[in-house]
């Protein structure tokens, strides 16, 4: 026992100081190479035993190989009986040695076969990586490794954890290891009930789903005292989980609200301020999304920055298209709302067909920048997805900028003057034609920006706009025509209401209920949440 502890302690020290020399690798590779060749030639179902043997003869230096295999980038060169990693850079495919990172230029795609993996192997690889990483230098890596292993606590893993536990210096890692050991103690039916109950109490502070699963099993235990303790612990955990679930749901609501806000805020200007029923608003959003696609096409190696280029580009494309539509069609139909509606509907069909012709009717693939993917894990039950979080912040930013433009700039002053009293503004020397075009361009441009955000959430296709046009009108009418604050409040109200209804009613019924609610609300208050007051209301 003492010898084992000592050996592990030494191994830990080695890792801590990174004393890995290539000599150990060289000595190892002698036994490793035939195994790797075997791996390359094996069928999927025969691979696990080979991996077990590979793990047995190797140490931390095997990690790059396991990771490459996990990501599906490991290939086998049958002629040389060697495995090799594939990677892509600037659209070109290269092959390199997984251990030395040395690029092997002489290899062509046809010389190698992919070593495929399935879910079972991926699960095994993840655990194998975690087992090796238990002795990693970085505390956060060690902690994640322990958490990864919570679901697969077999005897050898527990033995390793027990031997490492006394020497762990980082508190977080030690806590995680303590949790794993407590889980092990609680599940051992042969131990004294008092020990098990103490372990269960320790577990009641954790939110890990593996812990909950274990407690759930323990509520069916033979020992009555253990069952009671497990029930108490579960109750405590459930209470906290429910609290976080509420926060989660609120976030979903806010996120849907931010999407609605982005989609409808441009309409709040063209429809709300100018009074033009613009059925082509959805297509402005679509143009913005396609602009993002084109930008990514132009700069395929800088996807992470593409969004920053796409935002102004989409604003310009949609904005210019808006100005064009206003100058060519809408300005000729002043004061004829029905004709405007029909004309803009026609324009929306033309624009849809245009992108079908240019880009094909198939959906286009827009990549998500790496900084926007994944989620922010606050604890095991509450994690906020990053793309939604960014879009929420972005929607609010756009809203603030827009309010600023309307309130503080001369364009905003003109827009408000024209929308309140066109003739008087004209008499005061405001160029109403110019203001109309600029307002419509602004509203359309904002819709284009919304398209950039939506391209990160949904499909970019010719029908993208149609799925948002109804929602946009709903938000603007509900909030009160011509009122930006109303649009903001309406968007978030509808978003949160939908998301709180969805779990009980289902997505289809939730949408219907919200619509019915708005119809009833408009019956009661035809001018929406925030009606315009004073002379401007007429």
């Amino acid at each position: 026992m003492r010898r084992i502890t000592l050996r592990h302690c030494i191994a830990l020290c080695c890792c801590l100081f990174g004393l890995f020399s290539l000599t150990t690798h060289a000595a190892e590779s002698a036994s490793l190479d035939p195994l790797l060749a075997e791996l390359g030639e094996a069928k999927i179902k025969d691979m696990e035993p080979i991996l077990v043997r590979i793990e047995a003869v190797s140490d931390e230096s095997i990690l790059p190989l396991l990771r490459t295999l996990l990501n599906g980038n490991l290939y086998y060169n049958e002629a040389e009986k060697k495995v090799i990693g594939q990677f892509e850079s600037n659209g070109e495919t290269y092959y390199k040695d997984v251990f030395t990172d040395e690029i092997n230029a002489g290899i062509d795609k046809r010389d190698v076969d992919k070593i495929r993996v399935n879910n079972k192997l991926r699960g095994y690889l993840r655990n194998a990586i975690a087992r090796i990483q238990l002795t990693s230098k970085s505390p956060s890596v060690r902690e994640n490794a322990v958490r990864e292993l919570l679901s697969k606590l077999d005897d050898s893993t527990v033995a390793t954890l027990e031997s490492l536990y006394p020497f762990e210096i980082n508190k977080k890692v030690k806590d995680a290891m303590g949790l794993a050991l407590a889980m092990n103690t609680a599940s051992q039916a042969s131990l004294a009930p008092s020990n098990r109950i103490a372990a269960i109490e320790k577990l009641s502070t954790s939110l890990e789903s593996d812990v909950r699963n274990l407690l759930m099993q323990l509520t069916r235990d033979d020992n009555a005292a253990v069952v009671d303790a497990a029930n108490v612990a579960l109750g405590k955990i459930e209470e906290r989980v429910n609290r976080f679930a509420f926060v989660d749901q609120l976030f979903f609501g806010l996120s849907l609200g931010s999407v609605l806000l982005l989609a409808s805020i441009g309409l709040a200007i063209t429809f709300g301020v100018m009074g033009v029923i613009n059925m082509a608003h959805g297509e402005m959003i679509m143009l913005g999304a396609y602009t993002t696609y084109v930008v990514q096409l132009i700069m395929p190696n800088y996807i992470d920055y593409s969004i920053w280029v796409a935002i102004p580009a989409a604003f310009l494309v949609s904005g210019l298209m808006g100005v064009l539509i206003e100058r060519l069609v809408i300005c000729r139909l002043h004061g004829r709302p029905l004709e405007t509606l029909l004309a803009t509907f026609g324009i929306s069909l033309i624009l849809q067909q245009l992108v079908r012709t240019i880009f094909s009717p198939l959906n286009r693939q827009v990549s998500t920048p790496s900084w926007m993917s994944g989620s922010w894990e606050i604890n095991p039950v509450l994690s906020l997805t990053l793309n939604r979080l960014y879009i929420l912040a972005f929607a609010l930013l756009v809203f603030i900028v827009l309010v600023f433009v309307l309130k503080k700039t001369s364009l905003g002053l003109n827009v408000r003057a024209v929308s309140q009293n066109r003739n008087m503004a004209k008499a005061m020397g405001v160029k109403t034609n110019w203001v109309d075009a600029m307002t419509f361009g602004l509203g359309s441009g904002i819709a284009g920006i919304a398209g950039v955000a939506l391209s990160q959430l949904t499909n970019v296709g010719p029908n993208l706009g149609q799925s948002y046009i109804i929602d946009s009108f709903m938000v603007v009418v509900f909030g009160g025509v011509g009122n930006l604050l109303g649009t903001l409040v309406a968007a978030f109200t509808l978003g949160i209401a939908t998301k709180f209804l969805e779990p009980t009613t289902g997505a289809v019924l939730a949408a219907i209920l919200v619509l019915v609610f708005i119809i009833l609300f408009i019956q009661k208050r035809p001018k929406g949440l925030f009606p315009q007051k004073g002379r401007a209301a007429e």
Binding site: R116, S209, V259, Q365, T385, L457, T458, S467, P503, A507
Partner: protein, 427 residues
């Protein structure tokens, strides 16, 4: 009339270069009833090309019964009632001998009364919900027992799944399939609280709360899987959200019935890797027949990147069987061909032999594949032999006593084995 024949000759798109108007009367006409515009164009255009390719190949072999085959292509434009109109046009005006067509169940239901009224013949190549068997239709896609049931068996037996989320788009195919699956699962001893059913509208894009529900449902100690009948492009945001919320295919695998190579070809496949799909055919299956088919397809489309998929194989098998049946019957008369079809055998592209059964459904193997990052599938499981398509599900109370048998003496699409009567409906 002459102009009409001329246009249809042009429509042939080079399939039969010698189809001069004067010869047109001596051809066998094949109608193609697939949407070439509208929402379904994405999927159906491929099938139109497949039929044209098959016609081309058959003509190179000398046609059928000594005549050339001529394809008549119409566009029902993803408009369901238009399928009935265009179907009528094909049968009465163009007088086609057979129709290959339809994708969605609603379009098939729309054209069905026309086929029965005019005694036409149609081959339907897409996986569907079953509960139908018409004398005038041959179903070469999978019935639920050739896709959904084996997939659930795989989940239960091989992956040890105990809890199931049945997620689907809100229309007839997912609703019927989920009804069958629910009855099947309950029959296998799965408790009602271990089954979660969820429907979403077409093109649903905000999956946050549903995915979070699935996550919660799956974190209760039992292995959970999602059985997805989610249709079309709603799949993309669904899988994206799964990835964003940190649900990997090892934790909660998703088995899809509507995601194939064609759907994956326009997608960022990263969030989908490891998830599953059940079909009767995958492009990645290595057999000499499949290799030849893919090669011919690439040559015909002049695009080496075009993928092949399951409905294409169903079209391929359907066309081959029809050609053999016409040869056997010696005529293109619908009643004779219909009887000659039953018992027809054609090699599957994935190995084994497909057989046309008395109920107008095929016997085919069922494969389950894991999605790979190149948009192809890695087969992880397959049935031992072929599975016979079952028109009427054995797991629904209304249909478990019904069988379909189009041979004498029963000759009925919905024969009740208990009361020994045919219900009188045509399908």
């Amino acid at each position: 009339m002459k102009i009409k024949t001329l246009t249809s000759a042009i429509v042939l798109s080079g399939a039969t270069l010698i189809a001069l108007p004067s010869l047109a009367a001596d051809t066998i006409k094949v109608g193609v009833l697939h949407s070439l515009s509208g929402t379904m164009a994405i999927s159906e255009t491929t099938l139109k090309d497949t039929v044209l390719m098959m016609v081309d190949e058959q003509n190179k072999k000398g046609g059928l019964l000594g005549k050339k085959i001529e394809a008549v292509v119409v566009d029902p434009a993803s408009n369901w009632p238009l399928f009935a109109e265009k179907g009528r046009e094909l049968l009465t005006k163009d007088k086609v001998d057979v129709i290959f067509g339809s994708w969605t169940s609603v379009s098939r239901k729309s054209v069905l009364p026309v086929l029965e009224e005019l005694n036409g013949l149609m081959f339907y190549p897409v996986q569907y919900e079953g509960e139908e068997s018409s004398k005038n239709v041959f179903y070469t896609g999978a019935a639920p027992n050739q896709q959904a049931i084996p997939a659930v068996d795989y989940l239960m037996n091989d992956l040890g799944v105990e809890r199931f989320v049945l997620a689907g788009t809100d229309y007839v195919y997912p609703r019927t399939t989920n009804k069958i699956l629910e009855a099947y699962l309950k029959g296998k001893g799965v408790a009602a609280k271990d089954i979660m059913i969820n429907y979403t509208p077409f093109g649903h894009s905000d999956w946050q709360s549903i995915v979070s529900d699935i996550k919660k449902f799956g974190s209760e100690g039992k292995k959970t899987a999602v059985v997805s009948t989610i249709n079309g492009d709603a799949n993309v945001p669904f899988y994206k959200e799964l990835g964003n919320q940190g649900i990997s295919s090892e934790d909660i695998p998703v088995v899809a019935f509507s995601v194939g190579e064609e759907e994956l070809s326009g997608l960022d496949t990263k969030p989908l890797v490891g998830h599953l799909a059940a079909w009767n055919y995958f492009q990645s299956v290595e057999t000499p027949e499949n290799e030849a088919f893919i090669k011919a397809w690439h040559a015909y489309t002049k695009n080496p990147d075009r993928v092949t998929n399951d409905p294409m194989e169903a079209t391929y098998i359907g066309f081959k069987m029809w050609a053999n049946a016409v040869t056997k019957a010696g005529t293109t008369d619908v009643d004779a061909v219909e009887q000659a079809m039953i018992g027809q055998e054609t090699p599957n592209l994935t190995g084994g032999i497909a057989v046309m059964n008395k109920n107008h459904h095929l016997s085919k193997p069922v494969l389950i594949g894991e999605i790979q990052d190149d948009g192809q599938f890695e087969v992880v499981w397959e049935t031992d032999g072929v599975v016979a398509g079952d028109a009427w599900s054995d797991f629904l109370p209304g249909s478990k006593d019904l069988i379909s048998d189009w041979t004498a003496p029963i000759k009925c699409g919905n024969y009740n084995t208990k009361t020994k009567t045919c219900s009188g409906q045509n399908y």
